[in-house]
Symmetry: C2
Subunit: 204 residues, 2 copies
């Protein structure tokens, strides 16, 4: 099997949400897995000097129109969250805790949790920046409530997220979704088609 596709994202990114609905099928076509890397764009923007899209004059209006238009074209259910953007430490931590858990049963819940958290935020207006909401979603996904509450307060889990963000910056991640096919970066939901052509042709 070829190397997994690395998928860097923030749980608060609409384009990452849209791409999260399509990346697994795309990877599978080329016999690849997806490695999910939740990160914090807020920290990364301190390095790059960027601002969240919707806070940028003119571009912000276009962005909100485009989130909805592009979701509609793709047949993906989308509702602009009433609080946006948000800090996404809580779902990031739960994801890393599950995904790198010693217990296979926990690891198996990491990707379902990720999709559930995305859906909660972008399709049900649940504010996943609130740790108690993130806990609820984890419990709905099948995780034990006390275990996930403990994990959220675990300094090792907090450190794991910091480490993931630092590693992403080190690799050149500046936005979301940012995907790597081997070492070739593709930025944005709107580059999935180009990435597919790259996978198909082996590059050009």
């Amino acid at each position: 099997m070829a190397k997994p596709i690395d998928f860097y994202f923030d749980f608060s990114s609409p384009y990452a949400y849209l791409a999260s609905k399509r990346i697994e099928a795309l990877a599978k076509k080329f016999d690849r897995d997806v490695n999910w890397h939740p990160i914090l764009l807020g920290i990364i923007f301190k390095t790059t000097g960027n601002m969240p899209l919707t806070m940028q004059p003119l571009k912000g209006d276009y962005a909100i129109r485009d989130f909805i238009r592009t979701a509609r074209e793709q047949g993906i259910s989308y509702e602009q969250p009433s609080t946006f953007p948000i800090a996404s430490q809580a779902p990031c931590r739960v994801f890393y805790w599950l995904n790198e858990h010693g217990d296979e049963a926990h690891r198996a819940l990491a990707t379902p949790f990720l999709h559930a958290a995305f859906n909660a935020y972008f399709d049900n207006d649940r504010n996943i920046s609130d740790p108690s909401t993130t806990v609820e979603i984890a419990v709905e996904t099948g995780v034990d409530q006390t275990a996930v509450e403990t994990a959220l307060d675990n300094p090792a889990v907090k450190d794991r997220l910091k480490e993931a963000v630092a590693a992403a910056i080190e690799r050149g991640v500046f936005g979301a979704p940012l995907m790597f096919v081997d070492d070739e970066p593709f930025w944005g939901h709107d580059r999935l088609e180009q990435m597919e052509r790259w996978l198909q042709s082996g590059g050009w």
Copy 2:
């Protein structure tokens, strides 16, 4: 004939250069013309708080890699200019002067001049921010040298450009290329395919 596609661009934008090579054929498929609107992103970025792509840490490295990669995929000749980005007042002024000229022979040279200026900058490393280089390109396109030199210093021509930039901001233009199909905005070379689907389907 349906309404022309409005194509807002800065002569210094690589993605606008790439899209300029494709937009006329795309418009023609749907029996539309292209209305070219050269503008100054530097002025617009004062409103939006943006920076030129290549000046942004991390994103800049990706951008340069992507200009070259995307041009190669499209079979478009591209060489990263040695001075980048540039102020593009000179070619903008020449374009508006030609395009809105009382004389049909001058008007007919506006689009050829536009393509020649883009090619000079992105394929031959000629610095079109230098008025004398822009004059050379106009002369190569068939414009009279004294006439174009006079136009470049004409306050009415300068005002026309200012007016065009203000009108673009008023319409919500925040980047380049930004294209409107009727009143539907599409931003970026990488949205040409989505714009084509919009034209094909009449929207969704």
